[in-house]
């Protein structure tokens, strides 16, 4: 007996050791796999299929064995996602740094099943676009999971579910990036939707979280229907959905520009749903109901970037349809503008960031749409062109992933420390959370477009591309103005967020009316000052180290534009003539000396300056100007109310839904109850009444049966022998 117990102890000890010494194991596993893969392939691109396999295996392991893990599945998630990150980064290194594909692509495919006319193939398709996204997703998802192991610590056994879901989420997103056909990508696309549903509704016992999850799922579903429609059009037109076959023949594509117009519009519809663009944007702020780490993952790399990726992936199709290109650009700009305006009035720190994400995604779509239009226009004129908008949009995607993950994880650390999401209840956290406040400050500067930080380069590239197109089409001039204004608003609301959270005194006094001590005798009230103390403390290293890494990236990732061959020499569409050398001085000169840059920097800085004026709280807890007059002034109050109610969009959709679909549903219900049920019940009633009458024949008297038999015989004889011959009938 004693032997068994010691055995169990030993067993537990082994498991314990295994999971606690996991860092060693990660290292060993990575090394082994590295040697292994190096041995049989010499190239990570050719084993890209392994990237999503690791997290999927980890997902299964967490489901089965997560409860044995002292981190409740966190270690397994770290190993699985860590390995796939290593592979993703290696692929990105090969493609983007060593330029192993030379601007082309590498595809590998297997037949899964085949019918008479169509074989469903699955495989990988890696080009510079996919490699860029792999870099972003691989890096950010691993950092988010490291962060989660600490952030989700209080959740106990529910962490198993969390880690299982988030690992699957990462897996399907990576699968989406390396899929080699639209169909396979659509499968992963839907899986991403399911995982986001599960994660947003992680605290499903909260009604708001449950309804937010439903909302996210249903709203993105609207886009998914469009996407499927677009794929059907593509398949009907070209008979294939594989990227390599679809994109191989530009003249064939150009001949079918009408079909392509509708197909790309529908595909962009899918992107609108997934990336929360204007008419379908309202699910994203509600998706904040999930854990903050999930928001960071969704917003920075995983879910919403899928839409941008989709548009960039279908670029060879979009460039044949100028209408789609302009529609994408306009949608992006409107979204960027509207979302930025709403971000200026939100008080929930995560909602500010959510609207900021929507706005920045709008920026990316603006860049992509602009680039597509440029390519179409140049092809029309018969010249080759480098689609600056394409490069700028994807460049912004990468930079945004880093600084938005940083901002979200930072806000997660803040929420973890102060246990509230309302920025009005924060303030004065700068002293107690130095690392978080500094890194988030870098993120804020970066997204606001502070010169030489990453957001500055990409935003400027997008603005320049749009302005350049304005010479040919005045629509783009308008878009440029709106985008410029959006840049100012971005700087303003980001500054506002940072100062509301971190500036001001650590201790604040709130004046309240209270009953005095002798209230029962005199009925006097006194003005009491309540002290609000900040009990926040800096987050543990597991949480701050990812912040520091992301902070570094947020500052320096923009430099990839000008270092080495430059970002544009790897991720481009059309033709690219880059200069050699370590640093692209031409681009630096071009950007730094351009009056457009000076204008956008001036606009951004003025937005930041306004934010500082209104929201920087001094040691006395007061800002230089009070922001209250905006919400109370007669002129601006309607705007403020309009924005703080989020343009009444949700309300409008509710009202619209009640008016249209609800009425329709009621009509269906009436029809079902009265007509369909009426027929069924009527038939049943009729036969019941009839049989009630007829069963009286079964009297139970033998004589009745006998007489019926004889009478029946007589009737048959009468019929066959007398009536039928008389009428001339025959049997």
């Amino acid at each position: 007996m004693s032997e068994t117990i010691s055995d169990v102890k030993k067993y537990n000890f082994i498991i314990h050791e295994f999971f606690h010494g996991f860092s060693l194991h990660i290292g060993a596993a990575i090394l082994t796999l590295f040697v292994f893969t190096e041995g049989f392939s010499k190239s990570f691109v050719s084993v890209a299929w392994m990237i999503p396999v690791f997290p999927i295996v980890a997902f299964l392991f967490i489901l089965l064995f997560g409860h044995y893990d002292p981190r409740r599945g966190g270690s397994i998630a770290l190993v699985g996602v860590g390995l796939s990150s290593v592979f993703s980064l290696s692929v990105a290194y090969e493609v983007l740094i060593t330029n192993s594909l030379h601007g082309g692509f590498e595809e590998s495919s297997r037949v899964w099943f085949s019918g008479q006319t169509y074989a469903f193939e699955f495989g990988t398709y890696i080009d510079s676009l996919g490699a860029l996204l792999l870099l972003v997703v691989g890096l950010v998802s691993f950092l988010v999971i490291v962060f989660s192991t600490s952030y989700m610590h209080d959740e106990g056994d529910r962490q198993v579910r969390y880690f299982a879901e988030i690992t699957l989420f990462v897996a399907v997103m990576l699968g989406l990036l390396i899929a080699n056909s639209f169909l396979l990508m659509f499968i992963f696309w839907e899986l991403v939707g399911v995982c986001s549903y599960l994660l947003i509704g992680f605290w499903y016992e909260k009604p708001s979280a449950a309804s937010a999850a439903k909302k996210a799922f249903l709203v993105t579903r609207v886009g998914d229907v469009f996407l499927l429609l677009g794929l059907v059009i593509l398949f009907n037109t070209f008979g294939t959905l594989r990227y390599s076959e679809l994109f191989s023949d530009p003249t064939l594509l150009a001949d079918h520009s009408d079909e392509l117009k509708w197909a790309t519009l529908c595909i962009f519809g899918g992107a609108v749903g997934k990336s929360a663009q204007f008419p379908l944007h309202f699910w994203l702020p509600d998706a904040m109901e999930g854990p903050t780490t999930v928001s960071a993952l969704i917003h920075s790399s995983t879910m919403v970037k899928a839409g941008v990726f989709l548009v960039a992936r279908s670029y060879p199709l979009i460039v044949h349809s100028p209408d789609t290109a302009i529609y994408i650009a306009v949608t992006g700009t409107v979204t960027a503008f509207v979302a930025a305006s709403m971000a200026m009035v939100m008080n929930d720190i995560k909602r500010v960031l959510a609207y900021s994400t929507i706005s920045q995604l709008g920026y990316m779509f603006l860049g992509l749409g602009t680039g597509a239009w440029t390519v179409w226009h140049a092809t029309h004129e018969g010249v080759e062109v480098h689609a600056q908008g394409y490069m700028a949009g994807l460049f912004h995607l990468m930079n945004h992933a880093f600084f938005k993950a940083l901002l979200f994880l930072g806000s997660g650390a803040v929420i973890h420390a102060v246990h509230t999401q309302d920025m009005r209840e924060m303030g004065g956290l700068r002293k107690s959370m130095p690392i978080t406040s500094t890194t988030m400050g870098l993120g804020v500067l970066s997204i606001s477009g502070f010169p030489l930080l990453s957001g500055f380069w990409s935003k400027d590239e997008i603005l320049e591309a749009v302005h350049h197109n304005g010479e040919y089409d005045s629509t783009f001039s308008l878009l440029w103005w709106m985008a410029l204004l959006t840049a100012a608003m971005t700087a303003f609301y980001m500054t506002r967020m940072w100062f509301m959270t971190f500036s001001g005194p650590e201790e604040r006094y709130v004046e309240t009316m209270a009953q005095s001590k002798d209230h029962s005798d005199t009925g006097n009230w006194i003005l009491r000052k309540d002290k609000i103390e900040v009990h926040a403390h800096e987050a543990p290293y597991v949480m701050t180290v990812p912040l520091m890494i992301l902070g570094t990236l947020a500052v320096f990732s923009g430099l990839s534009l000008v270092l080495g061959d430059g970002f544009g020499a790897r991720v481009y569409y059309g033709s690219h003539h880059g200069e050699g050398g370590m640093i692209q001085w031409g681009i630096i000169n071009h950007i730094l000396l351009s009056p457009l840059t000076h204008l956008s920097v001036a606009v951004g800085m003025s937005g930041m300056f306004l934010g500082v004026l209104f929201y920087r709280r001094g040691p006395d807890g007061k800002s230089a100007f009070s922001a209250d007059f905006v919400s109370e002034n007669a002129i601006t109050k309607p705007f403020h109310t309009f924005l703080i109610n989020r343009l009444y969009m949700s309300k409008f959709f509710n009202w619209f839904g009640m008016r249209t679909w609800d009425t329709f549903a009621r009509a269906c219900d009436w029809f079902d109850l009265n007509v369909i049920d009426g027929v069924v019940n009527g038939v049943a009633n009729l036969s019941q009444v009839f049989s009630h009458r007829v069963r009286k024949i079964n009297s139970g008297f033998t004589g009745h049966y006998a007489s019926l038999t004889v009478g029946g015989l007589g009737a048959i004889v009468l019929l066959t022998r007398i009536i039928m011959p008389f009428m001339g009938w025959s049997l």
Partner: protein, 100 residues
């Protein structure tokens, strides 16, 4: 030679009498006897046409019918006996439980 119409008329009348007895009588034994009359009517047809066509198979069938009728009566009387033991009556008007 007797005209077959006479057999037919006779057997029809006998069948009607039997049927009337089955329908009208309340006593189960009398009903059984009426059934025997109906079978006899059928037998008369068999035998009559057998002699008309000089073919003996009709008479063979009549013998079979008689034998089977005897067996049937044996079973019927046995049923009536057990019925009488259980219900103390063989009045058919009182035995009408198998109805709607």
């Amino acid at each position: 030679m007797i005209d077959p119409i006479n057999y037919l008329i006779f057997s029809s009348v006998l069948l009607m009498i039997g049927a009337y007895g089955v329908i009208k009588n309340k006593n189960a034994i009398v009903v059984l006897m009426s059934v025997e009359i109906m079978l006899t009517a059928a037998n008369i047809n068999f035998i009559g046409f057998s002699s008309y066509y000089h073919d003996l198979s009709g008479q063979v069938v009549a013998l079979f019918v008689t034998a089977i009728a005897a067996a049937e009566v044996a079973i019927g009387l046995a049923i009536l006996l057990s019925l009488f033991e259980q219900r103390d009556t063989i009045e058919l008007d009182l035995l009408n439980r198998l109805r709607w």
